[in-house]
């Protein structure tokens, strides 16, 4: 096999990265629309569904090893303070307490650009001050309260808009605000001057908390020099890299495992402080150690979607959008990066004059982490509402206005042609399914007194092309069953099922004959399960691995059956030649215990072409104008993501995104007490994630055209697209219903009633 080095540019979470990878052999021609696929494209129930619903699936949080110790973390009660002294003597005196780590005794361990995991200056309520290991969880929880810490309190600022002010407490030498994104095309200054109508508005979005059902955590065990870490993660290889950096041990001495996983939504991208703490304690104390966050800790220190303050100025010339200026400030907390909400403004619509700026604002609050389409959810909330506001002003149907700016087949940011863009088709399907013709500019009467009905929609732009490196191995056993080994992980999205389908299809096996083993750094590398890139990165490598196994099988069969390999094919577990079917097991069984090993790698994306996903959401809502209650009646979600490998798991992804979007736009809001910097609702009582009663009728539609320019399976990503347009679609529907616009998410009863009160 000839091995080649390839370099490729790709987009992840709105950022362009350059990747170097190795590929073997040649890529396969993509499956076309007429490839006659038997398993791919069909709605197979999850291969692990029964294990999950019967409780047999083992999540990291379920793992209790014999003799295991339990860790609790002492977190700062202050938003900013210097840790002057830590006295753990009272805690250590408690029976069952095995050790305490803090800044004065913990070994150095590099973590995300810092040299230690316990800072001398804690920077938000919930920042790690010390960790304690004990025989039981209860002892650890009690003992951690006995650690005495002497804090020197420092000035802080715990609010986005407060931190933006010139006279705000400066949290860094450079100040609190730094520019994080800038983009321009055309000449907005001139364009606004020559426009016929200009609309300006300010939009705010609240901090959204991930609230993964399984909190962040890890279990660590040392066997001699070998460290095994079980972690609830979206990237076992990322955890391995984090451990190598922190503990300075070689990869050969680290194994990271993640079998079943209870959600991450972007926040479980690599080793956490809990991983390192568990590993250090496990080594020091010679026992397995478990460190899991409680729900409260999860909501303080495990990341969040930044709150934003955004201003949009948008202008029309005649019946077209002529110019847009979008400025956005994001509360990154103590985060080292920030998401860019202006991505959709730059790239979604064909608008001649565009100017955007985005800013990162530091505050004395927990760091952001990636959260399902970071930036794009917040940005689309502003952009697609501004478009509706402009449409209202010029007396135009908002969908008709968008259509004029959605047909472009080249990416306005890069000037490259799209591989496939079917946004107008998404509009057509969505409008038909929701009954857009019923929309009136002033809303319509609702189904009960004091209720108004409205319709709204919004568009989705995202990447999701996937990219190398990603590798996979298929072991074909002598009995005709196969095992796929791949370093990716199924974070609840259905990856196991989809990959099994790809193997079964390419190898000619029944789905039930394929076993999928994921989430183990002993496999070959696969990327993080984030950025809507798993299927599009890993899938093509898996298909190649299956194909490699099939070719080897046919070579072997050719010799054993004495038929030319080119005259043979594999079909439903049998080797077929003219007039003859032989079960794989019968053929391979002739060679004792031979395992065919097929290998596959992800080839680079085509150059000079823009790979994007598109979509549109349509919402029908009612609003009770006396009580401020929003009733979501129907959501239509249409996505253009290339080939759909499994319509069932894909629809499940879309429903999940819609529901998470409903939370963002209607009820989820982290509340911070500004004078103390404490989160007031870091629990599932005060922080309102949607319940099943909040879930409306959801109609899911896919364009389902393979993107044959993208990769050999024709699929792009779907993890993030379904949350992106939903909040803006709801906001537009609410505004259509009640005639006033709520520009702050979430659109609570309070905000609806306040907006109605101020209605002219």
């Amino acid at each position: 096999m000839n091995i080649k080095v390839v370099r490729t540019k790709a987009e992840i979470e709105g950022r362009i990265i350059e990747a170097t990878a190795l590929v073997e052999g040649r890529d396969l021609a993509p499956w076309g629309t007429d490839s006659g696929l038997a398993i791919v494209g069909k709605g197979h129930p999850r291969v692990d569904g029964i294990a999950r619903v019967t409780g047999r699936a083992q999540y990291t949080q379920d793992l209790y090893l014999p003799g295991m110790l339990h860790v609790r973390v002492l977190r700062s009660p202050y938003p900013r303070a210097r840790v002057r002294r830590v006295d753990a003597s009272r805690a250590l005196a408690l029976p069952g307490v095995r050790g305490v780590l803090h800044r004065f005794n913990a070994p150095k361990a590099a973590f995300r650009g810092e040299e230690t995991i316990f800072r001398d200056e804690v920077r938000f309520v919930g920042d790690e001050v010390a960790a304690l290991a004990a025989d039981t969880e209860e002892t650890a929880a009690d003992a951690v309260r006995l650690i005495d810490v002497d804090y020197e309190l420092l000035p802080f600022v715990a609010d986005l808009e407060e931190a933006m002010r010139d006279d705000a407490t400066r949290l860094t030498e450079k100040g609190n605000v730094t520019e994080s994104g800038t983009y321009e095309r055309g000449d907005t200054k001139r364009a606004f001057a020559e426009a016929s109508v200009v609309v300006e508005a300010t939009y705010r979005t609240s901090t959204q908390l991930h609230n993964s059902l399984e909190t962040h955590g890890a279990v660590a065990r040392w066997d001699g020099d070998l460290l095994t870490v079980w972690e609830s993660t979206q990237h076992v290889f990322g955890v391995r890299a984090g451990l190598q950096a922190a503990l300075k041990i070689p990869y050969s001495d680290i194994r990271v495992l993640c079998d079943y996983m209870g959600g991450g939504f972007g926040s479980k991208g690599g080793a956490g402080k809990y991983t390192i703490v568990a590993s250090i304690f496990a080594r020091q104390l010679g026992k397995p150690v478990r460190c899991f966050l409680t729900r409260d800790e999860e909501n303080l220190a495990a990341g969040n979607r930044s709150a934003t303050y955004q201003t949009v100025k948008i202008a029309a010339k005649g019946k077209r959008i002529h110019a847009i200026e979008h400025l956005s400030w994001s509360n990154s907390g103590q985060g080292r990066w920030v998401a860019d909400p202006t991505g959709p403004t730059n790239g979604l619509y064909d608008i001649p004059h565009v100017r955007t700026r985005s800013y990162k604002v530091v505050t004395s609050l927990g760091a952001l982490s990636a959260f399902r389409a970071p930036g794009y959810v917040e940005g689309t909330f502003a952009l697609d509402q501004a478009i509706d506001e402009l449409a209202d002003r010029i007396g135009e149907d908002p969908l008709a206005l968008r259509r004029r700016h959605a047909a472009l087949q080249t990416d306005p940011v890069t000037g490259m042609r799209y591989s496939l863009k079917r946004l107008l088709a998404c509009y057509d399907i969505g409008a038909k399914e929701i009954g857009w013709q019923h929309r009136k500019p002033e809303g319509t009467r609702g189904s009960a007194p004091h209720r108004r009905r409205g319709y709204g929609m919004a568009s989705q732009l995202w990447g999701g092309s996937g990219f190398p490196p990603a590798y996979a191995t298929v072991h074909l056993n002598p009995d005709g069953t196969a095992v796929l080994r791949c370093g990716t992980q199924d974070i609840g999205t259905g990856t196991r099922t989809v990959l099994a389908q790809l193997v079964a299809e390419e190898l000619g096996l029944a789905l039930g004959d394929v076993r999928v083993e994921l989430g183990d750094t002993s496999s070959q590398y696969a990327p993080i399960s984030a950025g809507s890139l798993t299927v599009s990165s890993v899938g093509p490598a898996v298909r190649l691995a299956a194909k490699d196994a099939r070719m080897q099988l046919l070579d072997a069969a050719s010799g054993l059956l004495e038929v030319g390999a080119t005259e043979l094919r594999v079909e439903r577990g049998a080797i077929v030649s003219t007039g003859r079917r032989t079960q794989i097991g019968e053929v391979l069984g002739q060679i004792e215990n031979y395992t065919v090993i097929g290998k596959g790698s992800r080839f680079p994306n085509p150059e000079d072409i823009s790979l994007k996903t598109f979509g549109a959401h349509f919402a029908q809502v009612e609003v009770d104008v006396r009580t401020g209650e929003v009733f979501v009646e129907h959501i239509v979600a249409v996505h253009d993501i290339g080939r759909v490998i499994n319509p069932l798991t894909a629809a499940s992804q879309v429903e999940g995104g819609v529901i998470q979007g409903l939370g963002f736009v209607l009820s989820e809001e982290r509340v911070v007490d500004r004078p103390t910097g404490r989160v007031l609702n870091g629990n599932l009582e005060g922080y309102k994630v949607p319940t099943i009663r909040d879930v409306p009728k959801i109609t899911v539609r896919f364009i389902d055209d393979p993107d044959t320019k993208a990769n050999n399976i024709g699929a792009k990503g779907l993890g993030e697209p379904p949350i992106i347009p939903l909040p803006a679609a709801i906001a537009n529907a609410v505004a259509n219903a009640i005639g006033v616009r709520v520009r702050t998410a979430p659109i609570t009863r309070q905000r609806v009633l306040e907006a109605l009160e101020l209605r002219p």
């Binding site: 009660p77 209860e138 929880a141 009690d142 006396r626 009580t627 401020g628 209650e629 209607l666 009820s667 509340v671 007490d673 500004r674 004078p675 103390t676 404490r678 007031l680 609702n681 009582e685 005060g686 309102k688 949607p690 319940t691 009663r693 909040d694 609570t748 009863r749 309070q750 009633l753 306040e754 009160e757």
Partner: protein, 322 residues
């Protein structure tokens, strides 16, 4: 969690003996365990009263009204077909309350005695006035969920959905303690924290709720209940409203309007009740009563929306009586 002694007595007298001198009584535990986990309650002794037979069961005795034992689970009341005929407002009030799991564990007595949900009260880091501290943090802090009427030093609101419904039906509550048994209007079980009174209930630490009674003549009332939440279920009320009245020849007699989520206690809008006396429940009368019910509201900086919201729920519940 602080170690505690635990007892599960089988007789009321035994329970009272055990409860003397500062023990904490537990029934379903759905509130107490949360308070303990959050560091708000740290009892040294817990008296688990779940085995006290006289506090169990509910029944309607002809001519004697409805008797509901303190240990009756919320789910039993909610799902009873008989009660749905006798006093449907109870089911109306309970269905949107908490979750099925909590309603299964939770009891009537515990529901009435649950502590407020103020996020400053529930966070042990805030030495708030109600917990013996010097000030209320909610008055200056984020008070979107707090009281709009009737508050003194503490602006937390009464969280129970059941209490307004029972009070609207003139329920009484019987308490037993070492000094005997006393019965009072249920509305008097709730006290507004003020001055030296840093508590939300009139029950003393060595008393138990035995039962709640609804008088026979109240069962002929018509009632209605509405609750506004921040999502469709599993949420404490932003505002809840229970109303009842006797309608004689279409004319209102003896109306009751009780609001939850707006005041430190279930709030009886007595002025509005009076206004309805002798009225026909048309739009104008309902609106006038709703306006009167909130006339004394003094919202804080973040909770002004509760005023129109409460007003509308009062109007709607009254309209449903007609």
């Amino acid at each position: 969690m602080k170690p505690f002694a635990y007892a599960r007595p089988r007789a009321v007298t035994e329970a009272l003996k055990l409860a003397r001198g500062g023990a904490t009584v537990m029934a379903g535990g759905t509130d107490l365990l949360g308070l303990m986990k959050d560091g708000i309650a740290a009892p040294e002794r817990i008296v688990d009263i779940r085995s006290l037979e006289p506090l169990r069961g509910w029944a309607r005795a002809k001519g004697k009204g409805l008797r509901i034992g303190a240990l009756v689970s919320l789910v039993d009341l909610e799902t009873s077909a008989e009660l749905a005929r006798t006093m449907p407002i109870i089911g109306e009030a309970l269905r949107p309350a908490a979750t099925a799991q909590l309603r299964t564990m939770g009891t009537v007595g515990g529901n009435l005695l649950q502590r407020n949900r103020c996020w400053y009260f529930r966070d042990e880091a805030y030495p708030c006035w109600l917990k013996g501290g010097v000030r209320c943090f909610a008055i200056e802090g984020d008070n979107r969920l707090h009281a709009i009427v009737g508050a003194e030093e503490c602006v937390a609101v009464a969280p129970s959905d059941l209490a307004p419904a029972l009070i609207a039906y003139d329920a009484t509550v019987s308490l037993t303690g070492s000094r005997g048994t006393r019965t009072m209007p249920l509305v008097d079980l709730f006290v507004t924290p003020h001055g030296r009174v840093r508590r939300e209930h009139a029950i003393t630490s060595d008393e138990l709720i035995i039962e709640v009674r609804v008088p026979e003549n109240a069962l002929t009332r018509r009632g209605a209940f509405e609750k506004a939440m921040e999502r469709k279920t599993w949420s404490f009320a932003l505002v809840s409203v229970a109303v009842s009245a006797k309608l004689i020849g279409g004319v209102v007699r003896d109306a009751r309007i009780v609001l939850g989520g707006v005041a430190p206690v279930p709030w009886r809008a007595r002025d509005a009740e009076k206004l309805l006396e002798g009225q026909v429940l048309d739009d104008a009368a309902c609106q006038a009563a709703a306006d009167a019910a909130l006339e004394r509201a003094e919202p804080l900086k973040d909770n002004g929306y509760k005023v129109p919201l409460a007003r509308e729920l009062v109007r709607r519940t009254l309209r449903r009586l007609a």
